[in-house]
Symmetry: C2
C-alpha cells in the first residue's frame, strides 16, 4: 500500500460538478489500495471575490485580517470535497492548515512552512479515511494566528505534507498534461517530458515555466519528495520531478527544455563611476526596495572616461520601486541617467546534461544567429544558459533553439499551457 498526496488547484474544484469529478479521482486512488491525503485550493474565483469584498470595506492594508479572510476560501472547498468523497462510500475528513499541523513563520500573506506535525492526518489515515487539507495556509506558532503562504502556497503545502508523511509520491494536478520541453503555445511540437530533475525544474520555473513554483520544487528537492505533475482532466501519466532522471546515461537527453519569459524589464544605469564599490552602492539601494534582481551586466568601460553602464533585469511590476530607490540614492551612486526597457524577452536553455557536455553554448548561440536574433545580455549557470533579446523576437528564438537541440516531438501538437499561481 502506497501513501499518495494529491493537490488540486482552484480550477479543478471550480463548481459542484468539478468537485464531484475530483472526488471520483480521489476515491479511485483510494480504492486502488492507496492511503490518500489531498490538498485543495479555494474554488475558482472565491479568492478574488473575497479580495473584492475587502476592497469594498477598506482601502488600507490589514495583513492579519486579510489572511483570516482569505482562508475562508479553502475552508469552503475542503469541506465540500470531503462531503463529495463520503458520498462515494469512502470515509473522509477535512482539516484546516492549523488542524493538519502545518506550522508557519514569516510575514502574513507570504509565510513559510517551517514544520508539519501531521498527527491528526495519521489518525485519519489509520481510521481508513481520506484526509483533505486546506492548501495555502498554516498556523504561526508564535502568534497562534493563521497565515497564508502566498503564490505557489498550495503546491508547497502538498509537498510539505508528502515530506512529513514520507509519502511515496506527491501528485500535483493541474490543467496541463505535465512539464513540456517548451511552452506549447509557442512551440506546438513541444514534447511532454517523462521526467525532469529538481535542478532542471527549478531553473525552468525560475526562467518562466509556470507549471510549478520554484519554492515548491525547492522544498521537494530538500526532502527528496517525488512530484508527479499531471492533468486533472485527462488522467494520463504526466511528468515525474525527481532527484536523478532514470535511464542509460548515454541516451539521457542533454537538454530538458527551453523556457521563455516576458515578465521582466531591464534598467540600465548610465554613467556610474568606474571605481571599486559602485556596484555595491547601486544594488544596496535597489535591495532596500525589496526588488528581485535577475541578470546583471556591467559594460567594459572606456579607460579615458572613468565611467561605466550597469544593466539589470527585474520583474516589470517592480520597476517603479527600483527607480525610486535609485533616484533617492542618486548622489551616492553618482549615475547620470536611468533607462528603462520593458520590451525585452528572455530565453533559457536548461539541462543537467550540460555539465558533462561541451559545445552546448556554441550550438545555442549559433541557432540564435541563424534565426537572426540579436543577443543583449547573457547569463549562465552550470545547467542553464539564458539570453535577453527583444520581446517580439522571443517566440522565433524559442522555436529555433527547440528545433536545433532536437526537442521537437514527432507526435503532433501538445496541449496548451495555463494554470493558476495559488
Amino acid at each position: 500500500m502506497a501513501l499518495v498526496v494529491q493537490k488540486y488547484g482552484g480550477s479543478s474544484v471550480a463548481d459542484a460538478d468539478a468537485i464531484k469529478r475530483v472526488a471520483r479521482r480521489i476515491v479511485d486512488t483510494r480504492n486502488a489500495g492507496n492511503d490518500v491525503v489531498v490538498t485543495v485550493s479555494a474554488m475558482g474565483d472565491t479568492t478574488d471575490e473575497l479580495i473584492d469584498l475587502s476592497n469594498a470595506v477598506s482601502g488600507a492594508e490589514h495583513p492579519r485580517e486579510m489572511d483570516i479572510l482569505l482562508t475562508a476560501g479553502e475552508r469552503i472547498s475542503m469541506s465540500l470535497l470531503a462531503m463529495a468523497v463520503r458520498d462515494l462510500g469512502v470515509g473522509a475528513q477535512s482539516f484546516t492548515g492549523p488542524q493538519a499541523g502545518v506550522l508557519t513563520s514569516g510575514a502574513y500573506g507570504r509565510a513559510r512552512i517551517i514544520d508539519v506535525t501531521p498527527g491528526r492526518l495519521r489518525s485519519a489515515l489509520d481510521a481508513g479515511d481520506v484526509a483533505i487539507v486546506a492548501g495555502f495556509q498554516g498556523l504561526n506558532q508564535d502568534t497562534q494566528d493563521i497565515q497564508t503562504l502566498g503564490r505557489g502556497g498550495s503546491d508547497t503545502t502538498a509537498v510539505a505534507l508528502a515530506a512529513a508523511l514520507e509519502a511515496d509520491v506527491c501528485e500535483i494536478y493541474t490543467d496541463v498534461d505535465g512539464v513540456f520541453s517548451a511552452d506549447p503555445r509557442i512551440v506546438p511540437s513541444a514534447r511532454k517530458l517523462e521526467s525532469i530533475t529538481y535542478e532542471e525544474m527549478l531553473d525552468m520555473a525560475a526562467s518562466g515555466a509556470k507549471v510549478l513554483m520554484p519554492r515548491c520544487v525547492e522544498y521537494a528537492r530538500r526532502f527528496s519528495v517525488p512530484i508527479h505533475v499531471r492533468s486533472s482532466f485527462s488522467g494520463l501519466t504526466g511528468t515525474m520531478v525527481v532527484e536523478e532522471t532514470q535511464g542509460d546515461d548515454m541516451e539521457d537527453p542533454i537538454i530538458a527544455g527551453v523556457a521563455s519569459d516576458r515578465s521582466e524589464a531591464k534598467i540600465t544605469v548610465i554613467g556610474v563611476p568606474d571605481v571599486p564599490g559602485s556596484a555595491a552602492r547601486l544594488f544596496e539601494a535597489v535591495a532596500t526596495a525589496d526588488v528581485n534582481i535577475d541578470m546583471i551586466v556591467q559594460n567594459v568601460s572606456a579607460t579615458h572616461t572613468g565611467v561605466t553602464d550597469i544593466s539589470f533585469t527585474l520583474p516589470t511590476a517592480q520597476v517603479a520601486a527600483a527607480k525610486s530607490a535609485l533616484e533617492a540614492d542618486a548622489e551616492q551612486i553618482g549615475f547620470t541617467e536611468l533607462v528603462v526597457d520593458d520590451t525585452i524577452g528572455k530565453i533559457s536553455l536548461i539541462g543537467a546534461g550540460m555539465r558533462a557536455s561541451s559545445g552546448v553554448s556554441a550550438k545555442f548561440f549559433a541557432a540564435l544567429r541563424d534565426a537572426g536574433i540579436n543577443i543583449e545580455m547573457i547569463s549562465t549557470s552550470d545547467i542553464r544558459i539564458s539570453v535577453v533579446t527583444r520581446s517580439e523576437l522571443l517566440d522565433g528564438a524559442v522555436r529555433a533553439v527547440h528545433t536545433a537541440f532536437g526537442l521537437d516531438s514527432t507526435q503532433g501538437e501538445a496541449v496548451v499551457y495555463g494554470g493558476t499561481g495559488r
Copy 2:
C-alpha cells in the same frame, strides 16, 4: 471604564456599507472609554448560500463537514469588520470561536457552550484593541473539531463571552428597538419595555416572541449577565433584561407583555385506554422522535367508555415525526385515531407580578370572552397563562388582552418586528 460585549446579527453586517456602519458604532463605544468585545454573525445570506452549495455537491448529511463549511461565513464577516474598525483608527483583532476560547460539547449543528477560556481576548483588550469574535461556533475539546451552535448561537456566544469576561453589559443589536409588550405588527400600540426579568423574557421567548432565543436568556440568567436588546439602526436605548426590574414595587407593572405564536400544531390522540400508564407510553413514543411537546390536555373520560382523548401541541415542523412515532407504537398505546390540527394559535400573558397578584386569570379569560374568543386549551405557570384558540382569532385576542391589561402605549405606533434566528 466598562467592559461592553456587543452582538451584531447577519442583517446588521449584510454588505460593505453595513459593516462600516457597525464599525462606526463599535468605535464610538470604544472612544467613550469602554473596552469592547464584539460577536458577529455571517453576512446576510452567506449561510444560505453555503447551504445551497453543499446541497449542489451532496444530498446526504455530513454534520462534521457541514459545521466546518458554515463557519466560513463568520470568518468572512469578522475579518472584514476588524478591517473596518482599524480604518477608523482603533486597533482590532478578529478571532474564530476556537481562538476566542469558546469550548463546546454535543452534536454538530447544535452544540452547547460548556466553557469559555478568554485568554486571547483579554490580551487583545489589554493591548487596547477591540476583540471581534465569530459567533455561532466553538471548539469541541474532545475531537478538537469546530462545531456550530444552532439557532440563537450568536446571541448565546455574546452572553457566554460577557459571562466569562465579567462584562458590565451584553448588548444584543437587532433590527427592532427592544422588547415590546406585544408584537407591534399585531398591536400597533405595543409599548417598548424599559426592562424585563430573565424569567419573563424566557416565557416571552418560549411563547413566540422572536427577539431573543430562550437558550441565550437562560445562559444570561445563570451567570447574571445584564442584556441590553437594542436597534443597530436607531441608536436608541432599548430594553434591559435583568434579574429584577427596578422601581417601586407598588408601581411595578404586573404584566410584562402578551406573546403570540402561530408556529405550533395540535395532535389529538383519540380512544386511549383510561388506565394508569397510558400517557407515559404515549409520550415515551413521541420522545423517541425528538419532538418538543408544549401543552398537554387530557379529557376527563366518560366512566362507562373506559377510554379518553389526549391532545398536545408541538412545532408544526415536527408533526410528521410525531405521527410516525405514534403510529409505530399504535398497538402498545392502544388509540383508535390521530387528529392533526395545524390552524391553532397560542396567546400568552406574561408577568412576574402575577405571583403577587390575584384575579389575573379571571381578567384574562373575561377579556377573551368579551372579544368572542373560544378557548381550546389552557396552560399556566406562576408567571404565565397561555391559551390555545383558532389561528384566525389570534390577532384579535392579543389586541383585546393587551388593552384589557392597560398595556397600550400613549406614544403612537411601534417599530415593526423582524430578525434572524442565528
